[in-house]
Symmetry: C2
Subunit: 181 residues, 2 copies
Amino acid sequence: MNKAGQTQTHPAGSRIYSAGKPGQAWRVVSGAVRLDRSGPGVEPMFANLAVEGDIIGAETLLFQRYTFDATALADCVLSPWPEGGGAPAGESLLAVLTASETRAADVVALRCGQALERVKRLIALLGPRPDAPALPSRRDMADITALTTETVSRCISALRRTGMLPPDGQRRGRPQLSHQP
Amino acid sequence: MNKAGQTQTHPAGSRIYSAGKPGQAWRVVSGAVRLDRSGPGVEPMFANLAVEGDIIGAETLLFQRYTFDATALADCVLSPWPEGGGAPAGESLLAVLTASETRAADVVALRCGQALERVKRLIALLGPRPDAPALPSRRDMADITALTTETVSRCISALRRTGMLPPDGQRRGRPQLSHQP
DNA sequence: CGGCTTCTTGAAAAGTATCAAATATAGTGG
DNA sequence: CCACTATATTTGATACTTTTCAAGAAGCCG
């Protein structure tokens, strides 16, 4: 449905691109993206996070192929990067590099301290969403924070009990299986 | 002792540069560097790792000031980057960006799984050192793996018992206090 | 409705942190 | 050159947190 070269939208949970496939770089206009290291025979492992304003897939400018799997943690809007097409200016690349290193430090910090603090930091990093604070799946949150889904669930219950989260976001049932035959 | 603009050496444990100070970017020719996020009033917190071949301090090309504290984990040789001086070529910057994202994924992976596995992965990441397998301090290893110094020490003892590490690297006593008055 | 998946909760087990004390090392000063 | 001091490292015992295992509740889709 999404065509290369123009703005894309991806629903939460959907695959944006896969490691090894050819493609272009994108700016995350809104939403959040999970990046996983994955190879042939290697099970996907969480590698990094991208939030509003971050650039993903920049390695395609060098290799023409993606290095990571990208999955939407929330409903996402992506626009092609660099904006004008062609090669990005050096200064623009430097800004991306600097942002990337800051984000990496954020992600590393998500795995420090006790479970409740980590979950709180993750929710804060995902940003104050306007009205519907739909959280990512427990599995995604667990992979990002290096906890288990059960522990994440307990932390969220605790945050709801203490009023730091609204009493009940909607649950998720059977996910939409998006096969490509 | 080290002069800007030419190759530098830093002994293990020494500060390479500090956040907020002006300076240039460097290539890690050999050794390993720990990067810490640190601000005014904020205690230093481990943020990232750089090993042989990585570039550190690239943000100075944009801001003229370092974003992180850099500390040598092992004896280090650094050379100015980009090599020719001046602005780096776009392709070169892209290569640095890609390497940076790969390294970030490595560091995130150092905080997955049980203590013994993490310590083993850290040692592997620091690279096969030729003859003297001098490990970083327990405190550095603990900060990087998000463990305590005691747990890291127990893991290393276990690795020595099982022969995966030589029976006894030298210990460290009182470190050299390098004040600058 | 039936099947599938995610989410939640409980109880027990495992792993790590914490606290405390002994040992080792390098630098300092006599 | 040797004792002395400050710090790092190691090890042990205990407390705490998280994982693991298990079962039930809830939502989505055909």
